[in-house]
């Protein structure tokens, strides 16, 4: 049965329009950075694993 409830939509302000994508990209890059260092520690390259 199709969903009939209404969406709670929002219209982003000028600041939000730019800020959210930037925040998401920063978070993805930080996540990748953490995973790279964890991977390096798995290989024994970091000073202490």
């Amino acid at each position: 049965m199709p969903e009939t409830r209404r969406s709670k939509r929002f219209s982003p302000s000028g600041l939000t329009e730019k800020l959210v994508p930037v925040l998401l990209v920063i978070l993805v890059l930080a996540l990748l950075g953490v995973l790279v260092i964890v991977g390096l520690s798995l290989l024994g390259i970091t000073p202490s694993a």
């Binding site: 939509r9 998401l24 996540l31 970091t46 000073p47 694993a49």
Partner: protein, 237 residues
Amino acid sequence: MTYIPYLSTVITFAFVIAVYSRYRQRGGIHLLLWAVGLFFYGLGTLSEVILSLTFNTFVLKIWYLTGAMLTAAWLGMGSVHLLVRKGNTAQIITWVLAAVSALAFILILSAPANAAAYDVARPASEQYKDILTRNGLTILLTILLNIYGTITLVGGAIYSAFLFWRKKILASRMFGNILIAAGALSPAMGGTFLKAGITDMLYLSEFIGAVLMYIGFIQATAGSTETVTLETTSSAN
């Protein structure tokens, strides 16, 4: 800096109660698993409090088991249950994680510890490697559990925020998920610094992580009584 784990512990256990209360009200295995993960988080910071007062081998082992091995993985497991709705994939992974967690428990409890080398004036994060003997399997499990937990928890929150952003719906849940992602990254980065030999950041990163995730959870659940379209989105409900 030793007061920071006190604050982290209070905030985290308040967070546990909030998430578990929501589970009691609404059900949802993801909420229960998040409560479990947060309980481990709180046990880890509580262990830091105890270890700043006195040394106890069992407490150090609980600190390592919960803080370094189980917290991220069980929080991430909650996100997997939220995002992977089809089939029984999430259930299977949960049983695998439970088995791995049991193995980690056995490995840590049976690990030799050199209690005489512990200095209560220094953070546990600075000296645990000299106290607790970890074999290769323990280190491997620690790293794999953290990779799994970080990808699923942080990645899941980023993915949810992105979906809300793309559809331009539920701004409060979108910002809540952004805060949860940032909060989850904070202790992950603290743990990463630890792996890189920088120990001072761990307690602060745990505190920041607990605060950001709690605020994110409150933000994400604030508008939950609104009528919404949920057929395609996942969220911290």
